[in-house]
């Protein structure tokens, strides 16, 4: 059974992930019991992965037992849900560059969750955190060259046939350009680098000028 639950709550779709650390919260989210197990509510307005799932990303991209390289872990909100999804047999390698937010990530997520390995490192240098080949690279970093950074990581650490989830931040790439154009350009970069872009999901209304590219490494 998947560790992800979809629900309908007063006409609104909601997501839940099975809590890897029952009884513990990461960021003051609600804990609920479903079928005898504890789940954590997953807010699409706070997490772009949750937003993407509600906008059509299938459940089988991040699966139980999967290994995920998470670039831009920040305070670990989304990373904690990824940790829930892959479960005790999975792995999340969380990379964050900014010490201030990494502090919370290490304290609330990495220390508590046995499937998370934290790194305070620059995502431009994957050799610093090359602990395992992964099934999924998730990249949510606010840099103009975010796509290039994601690709460097994929070529070093993503398994053949693995998935890249790239959060395209149009405003970080070019404040002036039309976001739709930016999405198209980044998509072309992925295709050129040997990826098949399965879907491009625009994340409104949850997030403005952001899109999630779901791509699979060809090889």
């Amino acid at each position: 059974m998947s560790r992800l639950l979809r629900e309908e709550k007063n006409g609104r779709r909601a997501l839940l992930t099975k809590n890897l650390t029952p009884g513990k919260r990461v960021y003051n989210e609600d804990l609920v019991i479903r079928e005898g197990a504890e789940y954590r509510t997953w807010d699409p307005f706070r997490s772009k992965l949750a937003a993407a799932i509600l906008k059509g990303l299938p459940d089988d991209v991040v699966v139980e037992g999967g290994k995920v390289l998470y670039l831009g872990a920040s305070t670990g909100t989304t990373a904690s849900h990824v940790s829930d999804l892959v479960g005790p047999t999975g792995l999340v390698v969380g990379v964050e560059f900014a010490p201030r937010v990494a502090r919370e990530f290490v304290e609330h997520v990495a220390r508590e969750r046995m499937n998370v390995i934290p790194f305070v490192a620059d995502a431009r240098d994957p050799s610093k955190y090359a602990v395992a080949k992964v099934d999924v690279v998730y990249c949510d970093i606010a840099q103009p060259d975010q796509t290039e950074i994601a690709l460097v990581n994929c070529s070093m650490l993503l398994k053949k046939g693995g998935t890249l989830l790239l959060v395209v931040k149009a405003r970080s790439i070019d404040v002036v350009k039309d976001p739709a154009k930016v999405f198209e350009e980044e998509r072309a970069k992925l295709e050129k680098a040997g990826f098949r872009v399965v879907r491009a999901l625009e994340l409104s209304p949850f997030e403005k000028d952001h899109a999630m590219l779901h791509a699979v490494r060809r090889d």
Partner: protein, 303 residues
């Protein structure tokens, strides 16, 4: 690359190592002196705000009781000190007005106002509430002074050249905006020039309106004291020197340079060369217009 299964002893050892390394990196990053400076300058700016709000409220409130005094005393903190120490209108005497920096004429005027005040009576309870507020303002002013001293002194240590060229508080604000001395040292001068004017910059990029000439740097007296048509040039020169100063401070340490001298020379030159406002161009070029707000009007046009 070690491929160990999650949950195994090897994996757990790797994980613990990694957590320790991450925590060490965080600890190291958090002990940088420039980050304390950034917090201090922000605390200073916050304190300024509280001080203003509190002092204004205290004087407004006290004004119900003794309106003439708040008219006569310009210095807000000084006024709050009097409110806190002297209290009710009747308490003002020639003695306790001594040593507050008033001329004899002013003292006499205050005493006269005391006798013919248009202010209402104030209950003991209300008076004590106003006094509490006023003494809070006095305390805030002391805190502000201490923070200011700290910023001045620390800037001399952490970024002597930036503080020499830009001044300690402006240098510290630039550092705060950039996110530390390291970040400031990596910024191009053109970015430093408009740090703090992000709203105007993005408006300019979006709509083709005229770009901002200065952000935080406007606070520098060389910029805001200059006539408008010189400000852009001055801000640019200043930003150039600050960029160099920040790099020297961050990468080389505390070596003093003649940056300030060069800067002053250049500023003199600008003042000489551009003494007169620019002549209005015979025909203004049509700017590319895109969606959004219309471009800013040219403010220096002569009628």
């Amino acid at each position: 690359m070690t491929e160990t299964a999650p949950g195994s002893a090897d994996f757990e050892a790797l994980r613990q190592k990694s957590i320790e390394a991450a925590e060490a990196a965080i600890r190291e990053a958090s002990s940088r002196p420039d980050l304390h400076l950034v917090q201090a300058i922000q605390a200073l700016d916050d304190t300024d705000k509280y001080l203003n709000i509190t002092a204004t409220r205290a004087s407004e409130w006290y004004g119900l009781h003794f309106p003439e005094l708040i008219q006569m005393v310009q210095d807000n903190v000084g006024l709050c000190k009097m409110i806190a120490e002297i209290g009710g209108r009747e308490g003002y005497t020639a003695e306790n007005l001594q040593g507050r920096g008033f001329t004899e004429k002013k003292v006499a005027a205050i005493l006269e106002a005391r006798d013919r005040s248009k202010g209402g009576t104030i209950s003991d309870g209300d008076l004590s509430r106003v006094k509490t507020l006023a003494s809070l303002a006095v305390q805030l002013s002391a805190i502000r002074g201490a923070l200011n001293d700290y910023v001045e002194a620390q800037m001399k240590k952490v970024a002597p050249n930036v503080s020499d060229v830009a001044g300690a508080t402006i240098g510290a604000r630039l550092m705060a905006k950039a996110g530390g001395l390291d970040r400031l040292a990596m910024l191009p001068a053109s970015t430093i020039q408009i740090l703090g004017a992000e709203k105007a910059l993005f408006r300019s990029l979006r709509t083709g309106a005229r770009p901002p000439k200065h952000g935080i740097l406007f606070q520098h007296q060389a910029v805001h004291m200059a006539p408008k048509w010189q400000r852009g040039k001055i801000a640019r020169t200043l930003a150039n020197k600050i960029a160099i100063a920040a790099r020297v401070d961050f990468y080389r340490g505390s070596e003093e340079l003649s940056l300030k001298v060069e800067l002053d020379k250049r500023l003199e030159r600008i003042k000489e060369l551009y003494k007169e406002p620019p002549k209005r161009k015979p025909e203004t070029r049509e700017r590319p217009r895109r969606e959004g707000r219309p471009p800013r009007r040219d403010k220096f046009r002569r009628r």
